[in-house]
Amino acid sequence: MKIYPQQVICKHCDSLYTRKPVRPGEAAQCQRCRAVLYRGSWLSLEQWFALTVTAALFFIIANLFPVLEIQFHGQSQATTLAETAMALAHSYASPLAIPVALLIIVCPCLQILLLSWVLFHACRRKAAPGFAPAMRLLAGLAPWSMAEVALLSILIAAIKLSGLVSITTGPGTWALLGLCLLLPVINHQDFHPLWMLKTVKGKHG
């Protein structure tokens, strides 16, 4: 089978283009359906890796510490992200506990781990062991990673409860904010330079 690594096909309308270099911040746009084909990256592989490690640290803090705490008649109650998902498990909503845990904890965690693994090796200009399955899983995880939805829901829940009880945000929320700022940056880079690390057997067209 012939392959054409220098060509790019629009995933929205199937138009074929020859890949051109773009400058940082510049986007190559499909002339037919106006979708963005790919973007020029501001980051080097090393900077991308560094931001991914930073995201991993934010992720750990966001999950170890409570995100919200309330005080009511001298009693207090705090919750972490995992306890939030678990709160669904002991009720009518138990079928949602595992999906919610997957969306707000497991998916972002796997994204960060896989990306760190791939980028660690990419910085040495090598394809990581298990490169193709890791990259395939990364592509599949992208639509199911909902850390930013969790952050907004914390804000809404805090406002909702603030009329009844005294409520404070925990360190987990601030770390989650950091994570939500970094995740779009590290996940929306152009993956083409990473894929080019893998040598493909086949005739180049």
Binding site: K2, R34, L96, V100
Partner: protein, 218 residues
């Protein structure tokens, strides 16, 4: 080069339609491959994902997932999503009821955010995907750029609907003061979570390239 770079866009010149030129895009890694065989061709030589010119059974599966979501949207709105007890008095609330309470108490901002995530976004997805499916069936060629844009919009906004599910989970996790006040999720939220999942899957199953196919097969 500078003339090419107005508005931060590189000028790209299309060489034609990949399918008619005998090429297929790997839906995972984006590699342009020679199209060998029928609809189900060889796997991608770079990432080993199965190559297909169009997502198999896209229209049927999108319809099925979308209609399932629409059907579940009824119990999601009619059944209570949360139970609250405060100082001995218990009450159940639905999604729309919760929004109405915020609106009545003057918290317009919150009411609008929850209304957008729980009502506007799911309804927009039903409307847009349904419209795209009908337009594809009719092979309607006018307004294809606009329809492609609408599809990309549904891809970007869809997951925000999970907001209410997580708000209910957070409140149930926090308000646990037996004797004083407790909060518990109710079955409606399960239906609502399922609606969001089904509409997300429907958008994933829809192949936007079908919007660009002409009457005669290219």
């Amino acid at each position: 080069m500078d003339a090419e770079n107005r508005k931060g866009e590189a000028r790209m010149t299309p060489a034609g339609q990949a399918l008619s030129l005998g090429l297929v895009r790997c839906h995972v890694c984006g590699l342009a491959c020679e199209h060998v065989g029928g609809v189900h061709a060889l796997p991608c030589p770079r990432c080993h994902a199965p190559l297909h010119t169009r997502l198999p059974d896209s229209l049927t599966q999108t319809w099925a997932l979308l209609l399932t979501g629409l059907l579940l949207y009824l119990p999601a709105n009619l059944l209570p999503v949360m139970y609250n007890s405060f100082a001995g008095r218990g009450s159940e609330s639905t999604i729309l009821g919760g929004i109405a309470v915020f609106w009545a108490s003057g918290s317009y901002g919150i009411a609008i955010v929850i209304f957008t995530a729980s009502v506007l976004v799911p309804c927009a997805k039903f409307g847009i995907l349904g419209g795209l499916l009908i337009a594809t069936k009719r092979r309607d060629v006018s307004g294809r750029v606009r329809r492609s844009r609408l599809f990309r919009l549904t891809e970007h906004i869809g997951y925000w609907s999970m907001l209410d599910v997580m708000v209910v989970a957070l409140i149930a996790a926090l308000v646990q003061f037996p004797g004083f006040s407790t909060a518990e999720p109710r079955i409606g939220i399960v239906f609502f979570g399922a609606v969001v999942m089904f509409t997300l899957l429907a958008a994933m199953k829809f192949d936007p390239r079908l919007l660009w196919e002409n009457n005669k097969h290219e």
